[in-house]
Amino acid sequence: MKDDNEKINERNDDDVVRIIRHDKPQSGKTDRRNDGKQAATTTKKPLFHRYWFIIVLVLLVIALVVMIAITVSHRTDRRPSGENYNVATKYTRNPEPVAEPIRDLPGYAEFNDTVVNDIPLQVITPHDAFAQLIVGESTVTRQDASIVLAVKAADFSQSGQGEWHIVGDFAAGEFISSKGENKDGYCAIVDSVITVGVDASPVEFNHAKDMGGYFFRNVPLVKDGALVDTNPKGKGYRRALCQRDSSTFVVIARSKESFHDFSQALADMNIDNAISLLGGECVSGWAVGKDDSVLEIGTAPATFPEKCVNYIVWKSK
């Protein structure tokens, strides 16, 4: 027969009952004791000390490995010049039939290349199209002739239990979720009106939910014309959903950039508000130009969890 300690360890978080006092552990994650008494904490101190020592040691080792990795990558990171830098996007002329009849629809995406602060950027502006948020890789298909621009939107992550979820507040019709750490940047689409902004409060999320609209969160890049500089470090192929005046468009960095440099470039383009979209080199969407040319956004093949993949999609009116 199992002793009491073994039984306690088997209990899950739903079974925890504890009185909330000042001297109780507050994480709410590791305290699996269930006797409702606070005295047990004092006898556990030496164990916690050892535990924290090991955690600190592991963190130091990880930090050392990361520093070495950054140093090595910095030495090998040379920004290519000319056309060679274009590795995150690819133009295709007369590609495989996207769908017929694409030209019967008025919507299209306009592509513009520019360089800001030595950062090569592509600006993709959808015209005669309306935006929505769609969940599921298989539901956003190139056979859908009405799609003018599709690009992966909210980040997704795996929980400790191995379950995948979209990070932060998310609403797409019936699909509503609010898991993981909320980023302050948001995009709300209500009654076909798209709003990009930076606000941690749930007001916009609740409004979008109530109105049957769309909502997702991601890293904020520009707020009211000024860069937001509280973002993760490191370099990558950055993408952003931007608003300037009444116009909404996607900006893609064609070289690896830090969030800071990318945000500064967007602010220098006089963008009012911008949030990050799922970045990286992986296949992340496409845009269809007026002349049927297709711009591939991200080129490296990758498999993502179906129920977490989400796109912001502009469809032709």
Binding site: V16, I19, I20, G28, G168, D169, K179, N182, P202
Partner: protein, 120 residues
């Protein structure tokens, strides 16, 4: 004597609720919903674990007003009215006799019941 105040501050808001007005607090994803007397609800941009930390830091060491029940609930002990383990039912009743029917795991309710029995 006036009840102690629970103060919750965000970057844009400040909420002050007398301790004895808080009936229960429920997890709502990344947010928490505070139900106060009369059934009023306040949504705050904190996770339940963060609210638990606030309660612990703002109220005294000897304060046994609130109890954490599972991942979803923090309950004001003074308003616990009825526990039914087999039906996994927890009913709170506030000072105006308004009832709030909640649900928790059998194991948690068993412990909660024992907690009150030990106090007798």
């Amino acid at each position: 004597m006036a009840s102690a105040l629970l103060v919750i501050s965000t970057s844009t808001e400040l909420i002050r609720v007398p301790q004895d007005r808080v009936i229960f607090i429920a997890s709502n994803g990344n947010y928490s919903t505070i139900t106060t007397g009369g059934g009023d609800e306040l949504v705050v941009t904190y996770q339940l674990g963060q609210i638990e930390a606030m309660l612990a830091s703002q109220f005294g060491d000897d304060d046994d007003t609130f109890v954490r029940i599972g991942k979803q609930l923090i309950v004001n002990m003074n308003y616990i009215h009825y526990i039914n383990i087999s039906r996994q039912k927890l009913v709170l009743k506030d000072y105006s006799d308004q009832k709030y029917e909640l649900s928790a795991s059998r194991e948690a309710l068993k412990q909660l019941k024992a907690l009150f029995e030990d106090e007798r």
